[in-house]
């Protein structure tokens, strides 16, 4: 999944780590935006073996966008702000 940055993107750049790789994002991005507007592709693999997932409702209800933030544990990527230096991996 490739989110496309369309409007309102003139915000300061920040860096975070996803799956061990340094990635660029912008201040105000959610983790979902930061990962999927970059090259993350997807957020987690279904624990039942049916493949990658990348969220669905984007409003904190469906729980399908879980990622793990170092020091915080599992969070919903769609409602969690990406902050500089955050270390994130797929759930």
């Amino acid at each position: 999944m490739q989110l496309v940055r369309l409007v309102d993107q003139d915000r300061p750049g920040i860096r975070f780590v996803f799956e061990g790789r340094r990635c660029d994002a912008r201040a105000g991005d959610t983790l979902l935006t930061a990962i999927l507007a970059g090259e993350g592709g997807f957020l987690r693999r279904s624990e039942f073996g049916d493949g990658p997932r990348a969220g669905f409702c984007l409003m904190g209800a469906c729980q399908d966008c879980r990622v793990v933030v170092e020091g915080r544990g599992p969070v919903r990527a769609c409602v969690t702000e990406c902050t500089p230096g955050m270390v994130v991996r797929r759930a």
Partner: protein, 464 residues
């Protein structure tokens, strides 16, 4: 008097406004970092688009709600980033979680303004990366300035289908198509009821006309067949059948889908408010009167969580629920305001009923859903597995209703608690058993309404 208001969308804002005018300082919480709800959601700090770009024709209303919201924050015990995860009506106790800390708040009266989310009918491929709800597609644009893909298909029915597609086009996204499952004739028949709200009707027609004028493929009466692609690369096409019966493939890398919205009624359910099936809305809705009173003393409902009415109705029902609360508590009320709002709500109800008829939930697609379709995306339960639970030859006999089917198959037992799949699961079961969906029932709410970290610390103790 201890009053709690859950939710700071249009309903919550107008409810708190009335409470504050009467001298009440409520506890007011919202799960999001700021108020506005989903419809008037504000982007985070650093985004610069104005209200006109964010909310289009609704900019004036959005600005008014935001101005009232900001003015009210210091006049209430305002707690953003706070999840209300359980509520009891006897004793009256609201359980919350804020920044990892759990708290329990006693209250004398509560107004629940918990909103709505998209109503979904799964199809093969809907769990692929690149597929979101219509609401999700809209939030990506509104709150993050992003499109969900390079070439986006919109599938479903209802006002949001057209609005989301129009907003994408306006923001410069490539809209692959707008595919509406409702035939034109069905909408035309329902038009008879729509002139009760000519402004809303005109807006809808404007969006459709602009999309058509831009040369975007617009098709009505379609049958969605599958979303194609693979997990690593995401969506590659949408497979569908047009109204003449011809199979077609649409190249796209993202799909926004949804068929109207359904109330987020988990807290009302946990409080013990009776929930009934509304055949016109085709939704389970909590029982309440025109003012938002439930059969439970001290529990009031407003906004889409009390039955779908949209943002304008949410503002009115929010104010009414607060007036009902104040009247029941013997506090100062505004009878003229209430009379005026009740008149407007009655007119709106006729319009809403016509909209519901014009954009029906595609229950008929449940019977044709292929067995291998994942129905419950949390637990990866397929339509075939659910159907097997409906056969008397199974090890447990046939599940006669949806909660029994949940016990057999784990459908709706995952992290979203059936918010996403519950309605479609009931339709699949109803179609297999040959019974009405109202008889099949609904998945009962369970606390916590959303997952909590297991280390959530009670107030006054440090997290372990």
């Amino acid at each position: 008097m201890r009053v709690a208001v859950v939710g700071a969308g249009p309903a919550g804002v107008r409810a708190v406004e009335q409470l504050v005018r009467a001298g009440v300082r409520p506890l007011w919480l919202d799960e999001a970092p700021d108020g506005g709800g989903r419809i008037y959601q504000r982007p985070p700090a650093g985004f610069v688009r104005g209200a006109r770009a964010l909310y289009g024709l609704e900019a004036r209303k959005a600005r008014a709600v935001h101005a009232t919201l900001d003015a009210l924050k210091p006049l209430a015990d305002w707690q953003p980033n706070t999840l209300a995860w359980d509520i009891g009506a006897d004793p009256r106790l609201l359980h919350t979680l804020r920044e990892g800390r759990a708290e329990a708040h006693g209250f004398d009266a509560a107004i629940l303004c918990t909103g709505a989310m998209d109503r979904i009918m799964p199809l093969p491929g809907w769990t692929l990366p690149g597929v979101t709800t219509l609401g999700g597609a809209q939030i990506a644009l509104k709150a993050q300035g992003c499109a969900i893909g390079r070439c986006v298909a919109f599938l479903g029915s209802g006002p949001l289908l057209w609005l989301a597609a129009y907003q994408y086009m306006k923001a410069g996204a490539t809209v692959a198509a707008v595919l509406d499952t409702t035939p034109f004739a069905a909408k035309a028949r329902a038009l008879a009821g729509l002139p009760h709200d000519p402004a809303t009707l005109a807006k809808g027609l404007y969006y459709v006309a602009r999309l058509r004028a831009a040369g975007i493929l617009v098709a009505e009466g379609v049958t969605p067949l599958a979303i194609e692609g693979d997990g690593e690369r995401g969506v590659s096409a949408l497979h569908w059948r047009d109204s003449s019966g011809r199979e077609r493939w649409l190249d796209c890398d993202a799909v926004g889908l949804g068929w109207g919205v359904r109330p987020e009624l988990q807290l009302a359910d946990l409080a013990g408010v009776p929930i009934r099936f509304d055949a016109v809305q085709h939704n389970w809705v909590p029982e309440r009167d025109a003012m938002g009173r439930t059969p439970l003393p001290g529990i009031y409902l407003a906004g889409d969580g009390a039955g779908i009415g949209g943002a304008d109705v949410a503002e009115m029902t929010g104010a009414c629920a607060a007036q009902a609360l104040l009247a029941d508590a013997g506090l100062r009320t505004e009878a003229r305001l209430t009379r005026r709002l009740q008149g407007r709500l009655r007119r709106q109800a006729r319009f809403r009923a016509a909209l519901d008829r014009a954009f029906p939930f595609p229950a008929h697609l449940a019977a044709a859903m292929p067995d291998e379709t994942i129905l419950c995306r949390c637990e990866a339960v397929t339509a075939g597995e659910l159907r097997a639970a409906a056969t008397p030859e199974g090890p447990h006999g046939a599940a006669p209703e949806v909660n029994r089917a949940k016990a057999f198959t784990r459908i709706g037992m995952g992290r979203c608690q059936g918010r996403v799949c519950g309605m479609a699961a009931a339709e699949v079961l109803a179609a297999r058993l040959g019974r009405g969906v109202a008889e099949i029932g609904r998945l009962r709410g369970q606390a916590p309404v959303k997952p909590l970290p297991i280390m959530a610390a009670p107030a006054g103790e440090d997290a372990a």
